[in-house]
Subunit: 194 residues, 2 copies
DNA sequence: CGTCTATTTGAATGTACTCAAAAGCGGTGG
DNA sequence: CCACCGCTTTTGAGTACATTCAAATAGACG
């Protein structure tokens, strides 16, 4: 299996010895997902973190009116999981599925915890990864609170220029928190102004 | 100094040896804050995490229209910081101030990092703390995306029953993302229905 | 007691949503 | 290769939730 991408991802934050690298790699497994295929289902316990090597996943929750709200996109080189379910061991509310045919590497929570025991360096890696996640969520929360829809769309386009062009608008609408209809109208309005 | 509360807080997630406890405690310092006093200012680098032992702090950001948006309340037994600034070393966008006369314990980032080197167990503590923070932020983000103002207020009251009764409405409005005027109208509407 | 801030109330407004329908686009099977 | 089907995007009219602005009232603090 080719774990080059995930090892480089890890090595951005910590430096692994040969032994650590080996102990890490044996804990990994891979999985292919067809477009629309679910990796994590709501009301089930999420037992692993996923690292995307190809394609693109998303995590989302469905509200009582049937609307999907996207928490995260995960293109290659990103981690994704239902962290609530992962750390509580309780069934989660998130679904994680593939927006296109994708490849992921899975790390079981139990293996991850063994890794933490054996090599505290991994604890550091995930501590830092999680800190970055908090920062991203803060920024997104502030966007929700202080910006209007058009500005959130702008912010999205600036932060994720690639995703902006590859994802269906409907998905972007669901991420920035507007209806697809309204996003369409915003873009039309933009063009008129130019 | 009395570090009982913070030690109990730590011991909820990990178990410290005598030596670890000592090395931790020597890194701490305390500070008193008067109501409205700023602990962290925007555009300055935040160099510590704060643990509240008395009173209540909040972290917030001011948007370009001058509106404050509260990211977090920190009553006793809670941690608070501008994590973006803390981990990046860059000047942050958050202010942290006291909503009433308060006492906090400060842990410098550099001391914290030394602690991580010396005792990886602390890395675990903060890894778990940070994971919980991600979960809380996810839940709040989903509330913003899927609930309307009244429901967000309900959710707030259920999650923080104590804060609901002690905080000024204006602060709660700023946390749930509505104007103080509208929160007032929502409550009036509630009473009419009962 | 007086001042400053927080809360309430009301009227007018605006941003974003709902519902409906048409047009566009992509994939699939004949 | 074309025709069809389903899904996404666009467009429009009507609506609703929440804001803005203004003014009055209530409360807190020195």
């Amino acid at each position: 299996m080719d774990y080059e991408l995930i090892l480089r991802n890890i090595n951005k934050l910590i430096t692994l010895t040969k032994k650590e690298e080996e102990d890490f790699v044996v804990a990994l497994s891979t999985r292919s997902l067809k477009k629309k295929q679910l990796l994590v289902k709501e009301n089930e316990v999420c037992k692993f973190s996923a690292f995307v090597t190809k394609g693109c996943l998303r995590s989302y929750s469905t509200d009582r009116n049937g609307f999907e709200h996207i928490l995260q996109f995960a293109p290659p080189d990103w981690w994704i999981a239902d962290i609530y379910s992962l750390i509580s061991g309780q069934p989660g509310k998130l679904n994680i599925d593939a927006l296109e045919d994708s490849e992921v590497i899975l790390l079981n929570r139990s293996d991850q915890e063994e890794l933490f025991e054996k090599h505290p360096k991994f604890e550091r890696f995930f501590r830092i990864l999680t800190e970055k996640s908090v920062v991203a969520n803060h920024s997104r929360l502030l966007d929700y609170m202080g910006l209007q829809a058009m500005e959130r769309y702008d912010a999205f386009c600036r932060r994720y220029p690639t995703l902006t062009h590859t994802l269906p608008q409907k998905q972007i609408a669901s991420y920035i928190g507007v209806t697809p209809e309204f996003l369409s109208k915003m873009k039309a309005g933009l063009l008129r102004k130019k």
